[in-house]
Symmetry: C2
Subunit: 129 residues, 2 copies
DNA sequence: TCTGCACCTTCCCCTTAGGGGAAGGTCAAA
DNA sequence: TTTGACCTTCCCCTAAGGGGAAGGTGCAGA
């Protein structure tokens, strides 16, 4: 398969496939005589794994490790679990930050008339803190 | 005041102060004869406003508008409220995405033994989707 | 007066996870 | 043979900073 076909099958676009190769996340593709990258079903499989990992918010650094563990039949599941748990903590931290912002913002918006007058508790809060 | 002092007072570092000036978020500072930027209390005030806005997650694009509305005594509070409400929707979207990721990840981690064995439901999920 | 140090200036590169597009080569169908 | 789709590499852009180099300035101490 050429890169376009594998991009369609994996739902990872060609640009990203080349980048993932460059970053060592997927193996270097073989080349046709003309220099076109050549792929197999196996590559589609890896790319789907990468895509699903991205959907769960893993960083490319994590994904590189995950792909490597996935390929390594001598892995221990604790290694995978550690990566996931670290990721969970980071997401929880972000979640908390976002919730904090939202509760402040909701409070401010509730108290803002939102009419033609200039008085605005949102600006007051931004100013005074 | 030189940039270092205003950086300390506003808790926005010099690098960022220069960048904000470049982006038109804060007014261009006057210069000393030697070319050093010169600031007043007023600039500290604006920078604190910017900092607090960042803490609430506003983008620099939004902040540019917010600063401009803040300065403009003929503003209507509805303009400010619109910016805040749009920001709230975006944060809520992110929040939801993060929550979705977390619930999947927590489920996976719960089912992973995390021991020396290679079997791992986390990798299974990443693979199969 | 000289020197050293802290501070200032501009400039460039790096980060994440992509996306846009240019210039040029390849392939297959009409 | 031409045309259009596809491929290649290369460079630039995003957002919100951070690091650091090279060189100028200001001030205190010797």
């Amino acid at each position: 398969m050429n890169i376009g076909e594998v991009a369609q099958l994996s739902e990872v676009n060609s640009k990203m496939i080349r980048r993932y190769e460059e970053q060592g996340i997927i193996p270097k593709a073989g080349r046709s005589e003309a220099g076109y990258r050549q792929y197999s079903e196996r590559d589609v499989h890896i790319l789907k794994f990468v895509k699903r990992s991205r959907e769960l918010g893993f960083s490319m650094k994590d994904i590189k490790q995950l792909v490597s563990l996935w390929k390594n039949k001598a892995r221990s599941s604790s290694q995978v679990k550690n990566i996931a748990q670290k990721h969970i903590s980071e997401l929880e931290k972000k979640l908390h930050e976002t919730q904090t912002m939202l509760s402040t913002l909701n409070h401010l918006v509730k108290n803002c008339h939102g009419d033609h007058r200039p008085d605005c508790p949102i600006l007051d809060e931004l100013e005074c803190h």
